[in-house]
Structures are given as structure tokens and as C-alpha cells.
């Protein structure tokens, strides 16, 4: 596939983000459940190159944070000892890709110091590590749900468009039903009728299924339209008159024509579905604690104390906006026929 220059940037950014989420175990210095209650809501660690006398040191180092005496939630650097940042250090065990067990992390500092590039949340968990682990949930819910949705849309849209008559009428009535419902309400409604307390793994699957099923209507309608016009093309009619079976015609002549719509819809749906997951988790209806999701990481901002004084809790939002901007750029390129 020929990728035009304008969207190479956003596309490679997305690839990097997805790969980093998959490699979360290796890239993150801590596990997403590692708590340090003495460092609740601490700001991002300052990485120093020189000590207080101005003497330079290598590798870069951090100081241990201690609570300012008598001031709850305010922290001081304990400059008595330096903790150098090590690369490829051994610490907590993780499983890469769910199979390969390892304890080597890209970087880290030795305890009791902690290296929190994006500060900590109210349980003292490292926001940077949770951001990486949360990406596994948030990014891949979007991706998989969009996959499911487009799969359903292609199946139903093709069947409706190709076979016509009462099959078409039935599928399109159901399609209208889904289209007519307000999106977020449908999602919340469906979620309301499913069990509230479930394990994170189940919740992840459930979210993918619910979001995927809710969203098939619009792409389904578009695909049906394309199939309707595609099946009247002369070469399709020729193939049929030569005795090609329905399945052959659909797979070889009709489906290839839906490709550009499917690509455009994917660029549209994936960010929308990511946002759906983030929203549900933000409201406490998605993947629950302690598993990280970008939505549940943003949820503490609902308390005014955190909102007012902990700007680093906005980091997941910043990442979200960057990703949405990338998808927006890709979508515009696709709509202008950039891919060929």
C-alpha cells in the first residue's frame, strides 16, 4: 500500500504508541498495581544532572521524596543521597505478551527512591507505568471493537445489499433501530442491563462486545449502499451469467469494492470506540480498579482537590488528544483518496 507523505507522521506515531502499550511490562518501571501510600499524589520526579553544589554526575539521578513535616501531601527532596537511574535493571516480575516471563525493565532506580516520570496517583501508583498498561485496555478496546463492528457491518450490509427483498428490509429496519438510538445512551443502557461487578478480563471482553455491537449500524448502511451499486456493475452480472456462485461473486467482486469505505470507517470508528471505553471507565462502568484504563485514570479528576492541584493527572487526556489528532489527520487523507 502506498502511504502518502502527509500521514506518515501520524501513522508511525500510532504504531509507536500501540507497540509501547504492548511492551508496557518492559518499558514501565513499575507494575500498575504497585502502591506507595507514603507518596500519594506526588508530582513528577525531577531528574537531575548536577547536585545542589552544581557538580555534574552521570548517569542522571533522582532524590528520594519525603513528606514535608506537618504538611500532608507536600513533598521535599531528600538531597542527602543520590539515586542514579539505571538502564536494563532487574526489578518486579512481569509477563511479556502473556507468555514470556521476565524481570528486566528498560530503566529504573533502586528503592527506596522512586522514579515517577508523570507523578503518582492517590494510591502512590506511578502514572507513567499505569499510562502504558492502561493503553493496553484503552487502545485495544477501540481497535478490537471497531474490528467487530466492521465485521458485523460487512456481513449484514453485504447480505442485505446482495440478496435484497425481505432480507434487506428486515436488516435495514433493525439498522434503523440502532441508528435512531442516541449512541451514549444505548451504550449506557446496554451496560445497565449487564452485571456491574465483573473481573477486569471479563469487563474488557464485555466492553468490546457491547461497543462493537452497538456501532455496526452506520457502516452497515454504507456498505449495503456500495454492494447495491456493485452488484449491478456489468462485470459482476457477467460473472454471474457465467455461473459464478453467490459466495464467489461476493468474495471476489463485491467485497474488494467496499475496501475504501471500510478503511475510512475504521479511521472514524477506532477513536470513537476508544473514547467510548474511556467514558465508560471514567463513569465507573468499564474496566474496574486496580486495572489501569485511561478512563479510570482520569476519574480522580472528578474530585476538586485533585483537579485543582494535580496537573499531572491530565497526562492520559493529553495522550488521548494526540491520538485523536493523528486519527483525524489520517481520516482526512483517506477521505481525499490518499491511499491507493
Amino acid at each position: 500500500m502506498n502511504v502518502p507523505r502527509g500521514i506518515r507522521g501520524p501513522l508511525s506515531l500510532l504504531v509507536v504508541v500501540h507497540i509501547s502499550a504492548l511492551l508496557a511490562g518492559f518499558l514501565a518501571p513499575y507494575n500498575f498495581v504497585d502502591q506507595d501510600r507514603s507518596l500519594s499524589l506526588s508530582p513528577p520526579s525531577k531528574v537531575h544532572l548536577s547536585d545542589s553544589q552544581g557538580k555534574p554526575h552521570w548517569p542522571p539521578f533522582v532524590y528520594r521524596l519525603i513528606e514535608r513535616p506537618g504538611h500532608f501531601g507536600e513533598y521535599l527532596e531528600d538531597t542527602s543521597q543520590r539515586y542514579g537511574i539505571g538502564f536494563l535493571v532487574r526489578s518486579s516480575e512481569y509477563r511479556a505478551f502473556g507468555v514470556y516471563s521476565s524481570n528486566i525493565h528498560l530503566f529504573g532506580v533502586s528503592p527506596p527512591a522512586r522514579l515517577c516520570l508523570m507523578g503518582t496517583d492517590s494510591y502512590g501508583r506511578d502514572v507513567f507505568s499505569r499510562l502504558l498498561y492502561g493503553g493496553q485496555i484503552s487502545l485495544f478496546t477501540g481497535l478490537l471493537a471497531a474490528g467487530l463492528s466492521l465485521f458485523l457491518a460487512t456481513m449484514l450490509g453485504t447480505v442485505a445489499g446482495y440478496y435484497g427483498h425481505w432480507i434487506d428490509a428486515t436488516i435495514m429496519r433493525i439498522d434503523e433501530l440502532f441508528l435512531a438510538l442516541p449512541w451514549l445512551y444505548l451504550l449506557l443502557g446496554l451496560r445497565a442491563f449487564l452485571p456491574l461487578r465483573i473481573s477486569p478480563g471479563q469487563a474488557f471482553l464485555l466492553l468490546i462486545i457491547v461497543i462493537g455491537i452497538v456501532g455496526w449500524a452506520r457502516p452497515g448502511r454504507l456498505i449495503r449502499g456500495i454492494v447495491l451499486s456493485a452488484k449491478e456493475r456489468t462485470y459482476v452480472r457477467a460473472a454471474r451469467s457465467f455461473g459464478a456462485s453467490d459466495s464467489y461473486v461476493i468474495v471476489h467482486h463485491i467485497l474488494p469494492q467496499t475496501r475504501s469505505v471500510i478503511l475510512t470507517q475504521a479511521a472514524l470508528l477506532i477513536p470513537q470506540y476508544m473514547l467510548a471505553e474511556v467514558t465508560l471507565s471514567f463513569l465507573g462502568l468499564g474496566v474496574g480498579e486496580p486495572t489501569a484504563s485511561w478512563g479510570s485514570m482520569l476519574a480522580p479528576l472528578q474530585s476538586y482537590h485533585v483537579l485543582a492541584s494535580c496537573w499531572w493527572m491530565f497526562f492520559p487526556g493529553l495522550v488521548l488528544i494526540t491520538i485523536f489528532l493523528s486519527y483525524g489527520t489520517i481520516l482526512r487523507a483517506l477521505q481525499q483518496g490518499g491511499f491507493s
Partner: protein, 327 residues
Amino acid sequence: MEFNVNYLVRRLSQSLFLLAGVSVLSFVFLELAPGDFFEEMRLNPQIPAETVSSLKHAYSLDQPLPVRYWRWLESVARGEFGFSFAYGSPVAPLIRIRALNTLVLTGTCTALSWAIAVPLGVFSAHRRGSTLDRVCELGTSTILATPDLLLALGLLFLALRTGWFPMGGMSSAVREHYGHWTEAKDASWHLFLPVVALVLSSLPVILKHVRATMLDVLASPYIRAAELQGIRPARVLFRHALPACVNPLISLFSLSLASLLSASLLIEVVMSWPGLGPLLLEAILARDVYVVIGVVMLSTLALVCGCLLGDLLLYAADPRIRHEGAA
């Protein structure tokens, strides 16, 4: 205006079919879901099992699905829309108050967004490539990439830092001693932040559409002709070009109307505006199912009415559609 009755009847029956479908679907999902409002009670050792089962019987939760659906239809006919377990009252009055609050918010926003977006879109299409156009373009694509959630949180953050705006709710605590004027001022003060959030989230879409359709129309020969005749630019834009854009814009406007009850859900929750959003969320968390069904049905109704109104507007505005419908 001649009116096509057949067309109206067909549209109305479609809408009724849709509403019925949604309500049946809700009840089927309800049946599939494990647990109910009284599940928590059963876990409490201080409440005897007989109490729970008698409560369930009183609310006819132990009945089969068709019976419950029929009971619900009866209560809809009485104008009650079921019974809320958590509030201990019929659903309709609960929803009515909240829906009015939501409408105050979304109505203001819809009016404001359209009032800003149409002139701005027309102008940036007219001055294509100018600084204003570029600023609009950049602004819309950035805001489109920012989720409502973050928009609301960001605004709250600003409000908290500056202290210029109240932090949520709909009115200050003490109201009795205020006059009407102070009360109105207080209310609009509280309305400000949610309105800004909602306008920011809906404005870019409208602006983009207005600009795109306007660009299409401005490229057509009759506009060139009008310009060459020496008609004032403002008159060309608003008298000659804008009416030609009205079709797609009416479709978009009907979407705005249709989402009057659903667009602000998240912003209401984040900014604690006492509308339908927080009610729905609480009901979901408490498994107060009839409230959920009531809210979902009401917003579907709003959607259906919005689309219907949009089609009627289109019918009134475009003679081509009228004749096609009559034929």
C-alpha cells in the same frame, strides 16, 4: 402550503414502530441481566428473605417478562412510566424535572452554537484561506479531537484556578431571599460553564458543515453572475448563497434538535448539572431499571421527534421534495 397526509402518516407509523422496538429491546435486555435492585438487600443478614421476596412481589419483579411489559405499558398509559425503586415514586415526575433542566442547558447551547456557527462559517468560506479561516480550521480540528470529557474537565480546572465561576450545580444554596432578578443572574452564572463546554463541543461540527456547503455553493456559476452584476457581497452571501445551503443545514439542525436530551449527558455528570445525565448514571449504578428505561425512551422520543421535525422543515423548505412526496 399543500400537505401530504400520506407522507405524514407513513413517517408517524415508522416512529411508533421504532419506539415500540426500543421498549421491547430494553425489556429483553432487562430479562437477560442477572441481579436487580433488591440484590443488595438479600446480602444483608438483617433483612429476612421473606421481606425481600415480598418487596419483589409488590413491585411484580417475580412476574414473567410479558406480564411486566404489559404492566409497564399500563403505567405508560397512566402517564407514570413505571416506578422508581430508589426514589419510591413514579418515574414520570422524576424525569420531568431533570429533563427541563437538561433542556435549559441544551436549548441555550443549540441556539448559541447556531447563532455563532452560521455567520462564522459563511464568512470563513467567503474569505477562504484568510487568517480567520485558518484559525477557524485549526480551532475546529483541535476541538474535534478533544473529547467532551476533557473539555469539561479542562474548563473546570480553569474555573477552579481563577475562581471566576461557580463549580457546578444549578443555583447557589440560599435562594429564598433573592429577588427574581438576582435569581436569574445566579442561574445564568451557574449555566455559564456547562454552556461553554457544550457549545465548544457542538460548534466545530456545525461550523465545518456550514463552511463546506457554502464553499460548494459559492463555486457555482450563478453566484459568479450575481457578483459580476455588482450586487453587494453581503447580499450575495446571505440572500443568494445561504438559501441554497439550507437543505444539508436543515438535516444537521434536525440532528441538533434530536440530541437535545442526550448531547449533554457527560458534561452534566462532570459539571454536576442536575439534568438527565446524573439521574441516568445513578439509576444504572443502583439498577433502578424503570428509571433507565424511562430516560432511554424519552431520549429516543426526542430523537424521533427531532428527525420528524427536520423532515417536515425540509418538506416545507424544498419544493422538489414536496413534489416528489406528492407524486
